[in-house]
């Protein structure tokens, strides 16, 4: 199904902000194409017209080319438009305009490690349980402290991100070991995950479906395989899954631990 969605240019965009990224990419490429073609025509013309041949002599006198100044000014002006008109507003929106609590965002923690993405959901209480590095183990990848009451309904998934459609998602990104880069191509969101730092991001999906999460930063031998699944559910589907997972399974796990 994915194959039919993906063409040779940009992948589909299922985010609320992504159309602005795509618009900028497309505008720049039209601009680049126009410059290159215009420039190439002049270049090719010169190569043919001014080839060495009998009776033709180069001119020592240099041409007065006012056009070059104008073309340089135009390029600079257009770059200024791209910068101020297109790029900066998108960046400000992504960095500064986080969804407010009235929009009922879903809060998530994403913990990257060699070579997997862990997704930490707070559960029904909306509070994340305490985590600590020394608790991390093969069966407790994010080091969740099960003695913390807030941890009781927490849900942790591995390489399996499930989110509701049309609802803002706010994630805090952290890494256990090395630098990774959290990337959902169809969501037009990419953020390096840097150990020692907690970096918040937000996004909002506009379509349900199955997609992939990628790692964009070389993180070791299995970097190439550090991919996760992204499932965008309808609101009802998500609630059903969330209640089911955060309610039942996790408690069982806890009991097993004891």
């Amino acid at each position: 199904m994915l194959d039919s969605l993906y063409g040779y240019w940009l992948p589909p965009d299922i985010s609320t902000h992504g159309y602005q990224v795509d618009r900028l990419i497309n505008v720049i490429h039209w601009f680049m194409g126009a410059i290159f073609v215009g420039w190439g025509i002049f270049f090719t013309y010169c190569l043919i017209r001014f080839r060495a041949r009998p009776g033709h002599r180069a001119s020592h006198q240099l041409p007065k080319a006012k056009a070059s100044k104008w073309s340089e000014v135009c390029v600079a002006a257009f770059e200024a438009v791209l910068l101020i008109g297109f790029s900066m507003p998108v960046w400000a929106q992504i960095k500064n305009e986080f969804p407010t609590e009235e929009q009922k965002p879903l809060h998530l923690r994403i913990v990257a490690e060699q070579f997997a993405w862990n997704f930490h959901y707070p559960g029904a209480d909306g509070e994340f349980g305490r985590t600590a590095p020394e608790l991390m183990a093969a069966d407790n990848l994010i080091g969740l402290d099960y003695d913390d009451p807030a941890a009781a309904d927490d849900l942790v998934t591995n390489n399996d991100l499930r989110i509701p459609v049309d609802r803002p998602i706010i994630c805090d990104l952290t890494s256990k070991d090395v630098i990774h880069s959290f990337w959902i191509p169809v969501m037009r969101i990419k953020q390096d995950v840097i150990p020692g730092m907690k970096i918040p991001i937000w996004f909002q999906a506009t379509q349900t479906g199955d997609y992939q999460v990628a790692c964009a930063q070389l993180c070791g031998n299995n970097h190439y395989n550090m991919k996760g699944d992204l499932t965008v559910y309808s609101a009802a589907e998500f609630e059903a899954w969330y209640a089911d997972m955060a309610g039942g399974d996790d408690e069982e796990e806890e009991e097993e631990d004891e």
């Binding site: 020592h60 991390m136 020692g196 070389l218 190439y224």
Partner: protein, 573 residues
Amino acid sequence: MSGEHDHELGFWRKYVFSIDHKVIGIQYTITALLFLLFGFTLMMVMRFQLAYPGTEIPFLAKIFGEGNMPGGLMLPEFYNQLGAMHGTIMVFLGVVPLAVGGFGNYVMPLQIGAPDMAFPRLNMASYWVYFLGGVIMLGSFFLPSGAAQSGWTSYPPLSNINPGQTAWLFGMVFLITSSLLGSVNFIVTIIQLRAEGLTFFRLPFFVWAQLVTAFLLLLAFPPLEAAGVLQLMDRLAGTSFFMPSGLVVSNQVLDIAGEGNPLLWQHLFWFLAHPEVYVLILPAMGIVAEILANNTRKPLWGYRSLVYATIFLGFMSFIVWAHHMFMTGMGTTMSAFFQTTTMIISVPSVIILTAMVISLWGASIRYTVPMLFAIAFLPMFAIGGLTGLPLGLTASDIHLHDTYYVIGHFHFVVAPGTLMALFGGIYYWFPKVTGRLMNNMLGKLHFWGTLIFMNVVFMPMFLQGMHSVSRRLYDQTVYEHGKDVQDLTIASSWGAWCLGIAQIPFIINFFASIFAGKKVGSNPWDATTLEWAAPSPPPHGNFETEPVVYRGPYEYSPPEDPTGFSPQNKAPA
């Protein structure tokens, strides 16, 4: 005077531990060309895994060892070693030593009419320190830990915990030291040893390019040298300059001091590595300017604006580095600054390229082999430069950062761009070095093969990147979007192998022409700059009589001179 001096020197002092800038230049050129071939070979091996992931090639197991390629299947850690070493070798052991150490050393003193570099022994030291750095880098493949495998950018904490990195850091310290020694020498030589009458605005553009490049090396490399030593301390002395607290690798808490910051490395690294981009491109532009002026048979258009643009480019290159780090969590203020400087730095590049293209107007273009390479440089560099735009704007960089689009972008700058210019330079100055021309037919074969296949290699990468394929993937087909564009990867790989075949005429031409090339006089191209006033090959001490300069560098087709060109040292009638 020089002849007698030559006879006193034995073989070792004359050809191996020589202090003559020309011998050192040749040593740099040969060594760097071998490293380029080696670095390219690593990539041709990697391209097989990329095109046909998981396929076994048994004979490669014999070459690279069962530990790296069991049964001929490349392991991811070996793939990462090849990737890190491809980048390191091409940049630090190939292109820079060839452009600066090779061309700079050989041509620059001749072009300014100097008998040698200002500090010949320092020059020799620079080569041998580089050579040691290269031996360490190559030798690292044979260590039990293998070669470095954290990318040429070596971001900690990965590089701090990965095997193979220590040798890489030692190698880098040597390579950086070599560049620092060389750059001091270049600056002093250009400022102090210019021939009588050779004012700054009569310098060939190549010399200007080398001067600005030397300043970039001198000012940008020390932070990376410091960073390299800090990373060595992290690895060997238990410090934590780049290691934050609470690191957990494979669910084991690391026993480290902590409290360091991995981003510090990125700042120090890119503070060098962005100016480094201009270290790669400026000498190439210098070579192209020389070849263009000579083969258009007219002065360069806008010589002064070329010089000013180059100096401005040099300055600006120090304040754009963080555009490599837009995705590290940068806020709006910082990103606004670095996006703006990045857009500004494109302006001098546009000026330089425009001046070169307008120089064609009113020309009488001789399509010699060096000229073909110089002409091809222009559109190839233009593609490389233009595709930098969407990467320099944060919003479009969100999608394109760390994808194949980036790989395509900088390879267009460095491979079809810089390497084309460097090939052109080899064909252009070969008769100066050997007294013989390279073969024209083989040269054209080499040119067309290289131009076509370089585009076959790098063009698909833009589409792959647009289609969201991350860089540095051992096997992109694990992703659905990777599967979609796998046919582009295969095309690119075949392009790389054909590009390898296209270099065979060059290798044959290069060695055969040393012995059997057509013998020519000291100025076969009817050129105006001072290197052509020296005999070919120039003796120790370079010039028979000290040259005096009377005019600018590119007096081609002056109306008053019936010969069609007025060399810089030709006395006015």
